[in-house]
Amino acid sequence: MTAITIKLFLVFAKIGSFSFGGGYAMLPFIYKELVLKNGWISLKEYSDILAISQMTPGAVAISYASFIGYKFGGLIGCVSASLGVILPSFIMIVLIASIFKKFYEKDVVKAVFTGIRPGTLGLLAAAAYTVTTSNVKDIKGIIIFFAALLALLIKKIDPIFVLIAGGIVGIIFY
């Protein structure tokens, strides 16, 4: 059992180390490692887990890690895989954060960020576009989308309440 625990950790550490730019960018790596290289899951299971991860809280990578970790290594496997996918980026971020303050005040860095901020907003806008086009599929979806937007914009309702309301509306509408 220890061998599989270590293997789970290593495979997910590899996944966690090489994908940039947010959850879905990790999918090709996840597919390559879990389905092609190690044959741990079939393509169908891979898409089922993706669907489940859309329905459960948290990052998609952690969903895969805990699911597969549990499947092949029980509770310890689950923890090991989850730690694996989190640790590499965690360490890197802490390193960056620790030197960040020192460099943040420098003029060059400030100039860099005057460019990065609008660029990042563009990335977020792209994500907004992609998520909207893939999530809003029918008339009911459109209604819910605009209702949620109005609630947020005009009524300034807390996003968490809007989410809960969205789930309830889903149960009622569909």
Binding site: G22, I62, V94, I96, F113, G119, T120, L121, L124, A125
Partner: protein, 206 residues
């Protein structure tokens, strides 16, 4: 006489208040990110509006600028966006322990439901109510992310012509499927090339 009593009391209160504040911060990091992690449904970007609402608006741990910068860094480093953002904010507010607590906080809600589902896999997929709830949640999450973009624009920290860069990056991703890291690097370079002149003005306005 009350003056004499007040000073040592105030001192002790102050000392324990500082100690308590740091513990409060650490606990706050865990609970806030646990809350954020519990409601991040459907992918890492769903966390962005929630962090905005909790960390920027409610707790005021970050300004809107710092928030956008955190987002930039989190997208430039490998790994899940959620982990990167929580680790970074956790570290800035509470050191290494803050980073660990924030990351744990946002990851735990992901693990427990998945475990339960892994055990009862087939049955979960069939639960009609769950399916219906998520049909409602998906467009809601989309609206949330759109709102997030709007809020950052509203914060007004990005000056007019720089929005061209926003549009270009958005198009680069949507149409050309560019790598986010490339976009961030390119934006940084544009910032250095065109931004130098603006930096002095910005710091005067601050």
């Amino acid at each position: 006489m009350t003056q004499g009593l007040l000073t040592p009391i105030a001192f002790i209160k102050g000392a324990s208040h500082n100690f308590k504040r740091s513990d409060d911060m650490l606990l706050g990091l865990f609970t806030t990110f646990f809350k954020i992690g519990s409601f991040t449904i459907g992918g890492g970007y769903a966390m962005v509006p929630l962090i905005q609402s909790e960390v920027v608006d409610r707790k005021k741990w970050l300004t809107s600028d710092e928030f956008v910068d955190t987002l930039a860094i989190a997208q430039s480093t490998p790994g899940a966006l959620a982990v990167n953002m929580s680790a970074f904010i956790g570290y800035r507010k509470g050191g290494i322990i803050g980073a660990i607590l924030a990351t744990l906080g946002c990851s735990l809600p992901a693990i427990v439901p998945i475990l339960i589902i892994a055990i009862f896999f087939n049955k979960f997929m069939d639960i009609k109510i769950v399916q219906k709830a998520f049909k409602g949640l998906r467009p809601t999450v989309a609206a949330l992310i759109v709102y997030s973009v709007y809020k950052i624009a509203l914060a007004g920290k990005i000056k007019n012509l720089w929005y061209i860069l926003t549009v270009i990056s958005a198009l680069a991703i949507i149409v050309f499927k560019a790598d986010p890291l490339i976009i961030i690097l390119a934006s940084g370079i544009v910032g250095v090339v065109f931004g130098r002149g603006n930096v002095k003005n910005d710091s005067n306005n601050d």
